[in-house]
């Protein structure tokens, strides 16, 4: 048993503690370098994960390293890396930035633990570590009432969802006598189904549903994403939301066995409502961050289709879309941060910097940002060749296969609804694109700060790169899905 496979987590944990320590020792002025240190640490972890192949289980099988955990760790690290690079500019000269970076690193570790969790307890610990850190991050602009509201709402709803999840877990433990996921699975394969199992699943679905922001568990998301600092929104929407998915992938296979597939109907309804609601409400938003929040709810609805059919390919599609969404949505929120920077450089006291009117003529004022946002929007709408298209393609396609091979009309109807939704989403993306490129600019061209540009370009390269050369990523996702042992 070699702990080298856990090196990325260990590195980040040590780094987080070191960052807090350094923050105490250095002067406020030299705190700006902490951002660079954190970025290097995250990049190093990412390289380690990409470079190191191998599987293993640790701590009495509570933590596993397998293809599924690794691809989600890549997602989390990419999102955190983008957010940290952008934060170098966003929180420049902030005297509390040491704490900020420590929290981001800890949140990342928490998410990575969730990705690797093979035991309900390690899962819960990972969830709480990530959630606690992000509660604070959401409220990091402590003089901004919107940020405080965001954090409070996120905290209360998050705690509720943790409680629901924990209650579900305790029921599962009570029935099966174990907290280890494979052991629980083994138990359910032989046991009779009882009412308690169903209740446990309901609590688990609700608990994960909050994290994934599926309708009707979504109401915290728009307020939180809108109020949080844009770079934190990027982390929340693109990263921490995916925690719910990886946990659900691991745990709900169990549900599949335990309550014999009835849960699929529940997810079908949740998925359809979520995507439709997200897209319809996104249309009328004036705040771009809110629009992105609703679009991210809609995307969660698409990803939830993976639970509806639960085949290897559909889960691979869900993973691919999660990866694509991490890049696109993470990048989009960073672009909003640039617009905020631009508006504030015009007028120090500007409010609502993410209002759509501030995007007028962005193509002229901040060409790199506008072009990046253009790419992210088209990718989110599923226009090829982009990561968003590949994800949607594999996902919708897997559902179509299932529909045709089981001759089930309702699955086909769901695919058609999903595709129409994806067409609908173009409307609100195109609206912003129109603002950026068609309307005249309301100010001078600005100098786009380098950290933002780097973060945006990395996300653009990732988004288009996966679209142009998806083969390795598709293989990774298929491997990841094979871990779950579904068809």
């Amino acid at each position: 048993m070699s702990f080298i496979l856990l090196a990325p987590e260990i590195l980040l944990t040590v780094l987080a503690l070191a960052v807090i320590l350094i923050g105490l020792l250095v002067s406020d002025k030299s705190k700006n370098m902490i951002g660079y240190v954190s970025a290097i640490g995250l990049a190093a972890s990412l390289v380690m994960i990409l470079g190191k192949t191998g599987e293993g289980s640790f701590f009495y099988n509570a933590i596993v390293v397998d293809p599924l955990s690794q691809i989600f760790k890549i997602i989390f690290l990419v999102v955190s890396l983008l957010a940290v690079i952008a934060s170098i500019q966003y929180f420049k000269d902030n005297r509390n930035q040491d704490e900020y970076y420590a929290l981001i690193l800890l949140a990342t570790v928490g998410m990575m633990v969730v990705a690797s969790a093979n035991d309900l307890l390690s899962l819960f610990v990972g969830f709480e570590l990530a959630s606690m850190s992000t509660y604070v991050l959401a409220g990091f602009e402590k003089k901004n009432p919107a940020s405080l509201e965001a954090a409070l709402k996120y905290f209360i709803i998050g705690s509720l969802s943790s409680a629901l999840m924990l209650f579900g877990m305790s029921l599962v433990y009570g029935v099966s006598g174990s907290t280890n996921i494979p052991e629980i699975l083994a138990y359910f394969k032989t046991a009779q189904v009882s009412g308690i199992d169903v209740l446990a699943m309901v609590f688990l679905v609700a608990g994960f549903g909050f994290k994934m922001a599926l309708v009707p568990f979504h109401m915290w998301a728009p307020d939180t994403y809108e109020g949080s600092p844009s770079v934190v929104s990027s982390l929340l929407a693109a990263g921490s939301k995916k925690m719910g998915f990886v946990a659900a992938f691991r745990v709900l296979v169990l549900a599949l066995v335990a309550v014999r597939a009835d849960i699929q109907i529940v997810f079908a309804i949740l998925a359809v409502i979520t995507m439709t609601y997200g897209n319809v409400v996104a249309i009328s938003q004036k705040s771009i961050k809110r629009m992105l929040a609703y679009s991210s709810i809609a995307q969660a609805g698409y990803i939830a289709l993976a639970f509806v059919v639960m085949t290897q390919m559909s889960i691979a599609g869900g993973v691919l879309l999660a990866l694509g969404h991490a890049l696109m949505k993470g990048g989009a929120f960073i672009a909003v941060a640039v617009v905020g920077y631009m508006v504030l450089s015009d007028n120090k006291n500007a409010k609502n910097t993410d209002d759509i009117s501030n995007f007028a003529g962005l193509g002229k004022r901040a060409p790199i940002t506008a072009l990046s946002l253009f790419v992210f929007f088209l990718a989110l709408a599923g226009i090829p060749p982009s990561a968003g298209f590949i994800g949607k393609f594999v996902l919708f396609y897997s559902v179509t296969i299932e529909a045709v091979s089981t001759a089930s009309t309702w699955l086909l109807v769901i695919v058609i609804i999903a595709i129409l939704n994806s067409a609908l989403s173009i409307y609100y993306y195109a609206r912003v694109i129109r603002y950026m490129y068609v309307l005249p600019p309301e100010g001078e061209k600005i100098h786009e700060p380098l950290p933002y540009v780097i973060a945006l370009l990395l996300a653009v390269i990732g988004t288009i790169g996966i679209g142009l050369y998806p083969e390795p990523v598709i293989n990774m996702a298929m491997n990841a899905a094979s871990v779950l042992g579904v068809r």
């Binding site: 226009i383 090829p384 609908l424």
Partner: protein
Amino acid sequence: MTAYISLMIAISLIGALIAFLTKTRQQARVVALVSSGISLLISLIMLSRFDPSVTGIQLDEIHSWIPSLGITLSFGVDGIGMPLVLLSCIVIPLTVIFAWGETKEANKFYGLILLELVGVLGVFTSLDFFVFYIFWEIVLIPMFFLISIWGGPRKDYAAIKFFIYTHIASLVMLLAIFALYFNAWQITGSPDFNMFHLLKNYSLLEGWLITNVITIKDAIFIGLLFGFIVKMPAVPFHTWLPDAHVEAPTAGSVILAALLLKMGGYGLFRVIVPLLPFSDSPGKMITLMAIIGVLSILYGTFLALAQRDLKKMVAYSSISHMGYVTLGAAALVPLSVSGAMFQQFSHGLITCVLFMSCGVIQHSAGTRIIGDLGGIAKHMPKLTFVMLAGFLASLGLPGMSGFIAELLVLLNSYANLPTFVILALFGIVFTAGYHLWAMQRAVFGTFNEKLGHIHDGANYEIASMAVLVLLIIFFGLYPNPVLNMMTATATPLVRDAAGLLGVIV
């Protein structure tokens, strides 16, 4: 293995990127002209290497892309694709020359025009259904911007309507492609997106999609057909077209009508005709297509007759002319199908002249409303000359390319679809009517003094239109260079289809 096609697409793409990066208008338009000129040159080399007597795909090339999903970058042309590649490579340089005077954000303008060329070339040459779909979608984006940046007063509405309408149609088509792909995978045991492979395996599908309502085969067929006829567009899915045309800048309208509409027709020949005999109710499908075709011819004509705006009239005339393509394809007679293909080619040339005329008039007189014009011939003699030639070609004057195309379609479709052809014939009278009536009111007669001082079209505008008119006359007198390759491809295509259906060939 050759690489003409990928070279052509790559050069257009690089040209587009360079055009975006240029600083001055002069640089942008020179880049656009040179890049599209090279594409024209390559297409002419392709034409010289193309053997019209061979029926299959020629000049093909294949590069691997995503092996796990069976997706390859494969390109090639036959008698369906080659004329349209040639058309694209003729129209784009001429559009660049016509729009030589564009001043607003010239680098983006010319870059987007080149991107359109990338998209249509990809659609007309892709042999992989996945890659075909990607190019099919790529075409939308530059057109959205061409309309929404350089468009008229209602450009926002028109651009969004165009985008969403055609995108939904593409998605329906995508679903049908998925189904074909999955079916072929199940049968052969390996994923492969090759277009012919998917089409070949269509016949093995069976079962109901919704029991006793629609079979899977029919649903796939209708899904694909829907994707194509919305693009053409055919009545009743045509409503996006007049809006898009009226608001689009002249160059945008030209590309939209001359090339984008042809994508739908291309899909009919490439996909729909080979599938037709294998659908579960081929008779009904043929009738459906024939109804759509005739409806488009007649309805388009009558709407054109009623328009006050010259450009809107031309837009409706496009719908009417594209109706011949659907009708000819549905008739399943070799010469009706090759006539329909020729109609695509010919309409692509003619409609450019018409939209360019509208653009020149709008620019010079400040209005396109037919009633507000009048007698402009005196002040715009050069324009009047080429415009008249274009209008006569459009109404089907013998000696021009449109006549041959429509004659072939009507004459040969009669064998299988007599009723529909007789109905379509009524359209011809009114087609002549609205063209001549519009010319008479807008161009001839007494000069409307309210128009003030108007000047003739610029030399580069007239020159590009004149080249088109010469081509129209050339292909009207000597259609063989393209018609031969169309017939060579259409004959076996139709023989296979019609043979299975037992209809007269």
